[in-house]
């Protein structure tokens, strides 16, 4: 913890408080989603993010407003850390008209273009080439924005991983490949689905690569700052592997036959929230009252979101055929 403490001091209470708050918000938001799912208020596939909060919070803090993000279906944490309105995210999970995707996308497909949040993608690895294209466009348009692509360890097995990394390096696109390695793709340990280490493979494309503790928000943030600076400076893509762990099953349907409760407990001991909290307290940057404030604020925000979602209307049936294609043609 000493490194975290010293880093904590460097960084200043302001930003650390924000990190802590965001991680707590995501944690609580996800716990509530789990409850709402069992109540049938959220349906379809639901993939919770608890345990991985440090990844989302650490990565998003390193981005600028003009940057673009694509992620996978386990996307609530990324959306909230990027600053999407929790009310509209919750409304989306409930399939309401006020949701960020108008109730059409659901948990796996959150979009908010105003925030550069270009979507959660439910086809594994399908968004990797999209992130290369977003980066390519930035270069061609002479913008200095970067494209962040978040995916899991299991996605590395797909052919598009290979095609995307190769073209990204070939064309020097400002793309950051952020792999959330939570050790499993559904129930398969990544060591059984990949013949090598992820960074070793990524490095083979001649891409700078780093592995960080994905349950240490400061470590994630540092790595992302380096990655973003590299890409923004026109040096091409950068690969970050964050070692993390999901506390819940793959989705709400997961019987979790493939892992031992004990393993989960081991990782909970390294919980990202507890660690930052301890580091801040050790550095004298967090007293009891401030922490309690945060807890209350989180509770408030999540409850408001649920209430907003509940109160919001269903999309009207007359909207079924909306947004099928964008018309008219221009020019």
């Amino acid at each position: 913890m000493t490194t975290e403490t010293s880093q904590a001091e460097k960084m200043g209470a302001e930003q650390l408080g924000l990190f802590l708050y965001q991680m707590m918000l995501i944690r609580r938001f996800e716990e509530k989603c789990g409850e709402l799912y069992t109540k049938g208020k959220i349906r379809g596939f639901l993939h919770l993010y608890t345990g991985q909060e440090a990844c989302a919070v650490g990565m998003m803090a390193a981005l600028a407003d003009r940057d673009k993000i694509v992620t996978h279906y386990r996307d609530h944490g990324h959306a909230l850390a990027r600053g999407l309105d929790p009310n509209r995210v919750m409304a989306e999970l409930m399939g309401k008209a006020t949701g960020v995707s108008g109730g059409r996308g659901g948990s796996m497909h959150l979009y908010d273009v105003s925030k550069g949040f270009l979507g959660g993608y439910a086809i594994v690895a399908a968004h990797l080439p999209l992130a290369v294209g977003l980066g390519l466009a930035a270069t061609m348009k002479k913008e200095d924005s970067v494209a962040l692509c978040v995916f899991g360890d299991g996605s590395v097995g797909e052919g598009e991983f290979h095609e995307s990394l190769n073209m990204s390096v070939l064309w020097k696109t400002p793309t950051i490949f952020f792999c959330e390695n939570n050790l499993y793709g559904m129930g398969v340990p990544f060591k059984e689905s990949l013949s090598t280490d992820i960074p070793k493979l990524a490095a083979a494309y001649n891409m700078p690569t780093v592995t960080v503790d994905g349950m240490d928000v400061l470590a994630v943030h540092e790595a992302m700052k380096t990655a973003v600076a590299h890409a923004r400076a026109g040096n091409g893509p950068y690969f970050v592997e964050a070692m993390t762990y999901r506390y819940r099953g793959h989705s709400m349907a997961d019987p979790e036959l493939y892992r031992l409760k004990d393993e989960v407990e081991q990782y909970r001991k390294r919980d990202c929230i507890e660690r930052l909290k301890a580091a801040m307290q050790a550095a004298g940057q967090l007293d009891e009252s401030r922490f309690n404030e945060m807890t209350e604020r989180v509770e408030q925000v999540v409850n408001d979101a649920i209430e907003f979602g509940e109160r919001s209307p269903q999309p009207g049936l007359e909207t079924l055929f909306d947004h099928l294609t964008k018309e008219p043609a221009n020019g």
Binding site: G44, F45, G106, G187, P255, L320
Partner: protein
């Protein structure tokens, strides 16, 4: 006869085939320790071991290609595609390798492979995860396309698929997994391909379905009988390649009316083929144009109301039938 869910009937078929034929083995994402995302393969890893129940990386094209290679070498693999939505990624292997090798090699190489995939909407999985693409696969010569509607057929057809010497696309509607039915326990119980099943006899209109849509058709037939005194014959195609058109035509020549029910999109869907063939072979018997009841022409939305508005319902079928009688 034992009562079981379609999911369990499929598992029984896999078990029996693994026992019967040592060439049979299973590959797929999370079919092992996880038990299969729809629990069809649950327990098979424990019973048959890693050699014959293989978890694969998430790599649909490679996984199907490996299955093809193993089949070329004389094994009889089953590849579980988890869901039909991911099968786009393996389509080149299915169409250009599995379906064509026997023809292109002038009969030297056949590909005895079973590719299972879960299909269908209705579970609020949204646009990328709710496809029904039976008709897409049926378009390609060299393939066989099977889509059971109930537990007994599921078992008999899946066992039959492992007797076939070609690649069989075996499509399971997620809404059918939990449906219970009486299933023969005879290990030699097979359901032949290309034999449609007349689920109920009727005289006024023929309702044609496959996979999940058979159930909208059946419920519609009930409503028509009770509310409208219209007697509907219901046909479950069971396999759409090979397709048992004779049974359909015989029925339409008796009822003079036909409604096709399918979960897939209408435009350019398989219903068009059925409709066209009925016209081609029973033109003079038709009292009204063949009607098609299918998914509305939109990607399936997550919202429950919108999704159900898009999917074909028994009410839609009844409406289509009544329109025929009005005209």
């Amino acid at each position: 006869m034992v009562e079981m869910r379609m999911r369990d009937a499929l598992r029984e078929a896999l078990r029996e085939e693994l026992i019967r034929d040592e060439r049979v083995f299973l590959m797929g994402e999370d079919i092992g320790a996880y038990g299969g995302s729809y629990a069809v393969t649950k327990g098979l890893l424990e019973e048959f071991g890693e050699e014959r129940v293989k978890d694969t990386p998430i790599a649909e094209s490679g996984m199907v290609g490996i299955g093809i290679g193993a089949a070329m070498a004389g094994l009889h693999p089953m590849v579980e595609m988890m869901t039909i939505n991911f099968s786009f990624l393996a389509l080149d292997q299915i169409v250009n390798s599995a379906a064509k090798l026997y023809h292109m090699s002038n009969g030297q190489i056949n590909v005895p492979l079973v590719i299972r995939m879960a299909s269908g909407g209705g579970s609020q999985l949204a646009a990328t995860h709710s496809h029904s693409l039976e008709g897409l696969y049926a378009h390609f010569p060299g393939l066989k396309v099977v889509c059971p509607s109930n537990a007994a057929d599921a078992k008999g057809l899946l066992k039959r698929a492992f007797r076939d010497q070609n690649t069989v696309i075996f499509i399971e509607h997620t809404a059918n997994y939990a449906l219970k039915g009486e299933v023969p326990d005879d290990p030699d119980y097979l359901v032949e391909f290309g034999v449609a099943n007349i689920l109920r006899e009727g005289s006024d209109v023929t309702l044609i379905g496959y996979s999940g849509s058979v159930h909208q058709a059946t419920r519609a037939a009930d409503m028509l009988a009770q509310q409208e005194e219209i007697s509907a014959e219901v046909i479950d195609l069971r396999t759409i390649r090979p397709l048992d058109m004779d049974t359909v035509i015989a029925s339409v020549k008796k009822t003079n009316r036909a409604v096709i029910v399918e979960d897939d999109w209408l435009f350019g869907g398989f219903g068009g083929e059925l409709s066209a063939q009925i016209m081609e072979r029973a033109f003079d018997w038709l009292d009204a144009p063949v009607a098609r009841v299918s998914c509305k022409d939109v990607p399936l939305p997550y919202n429950r109301n919108l999704e159900f508005a898009a999917l074909p319902s028994e009410e839609d079928v009844v409406e289509a039938v009544l329109r025929m009688f009005k005209e």
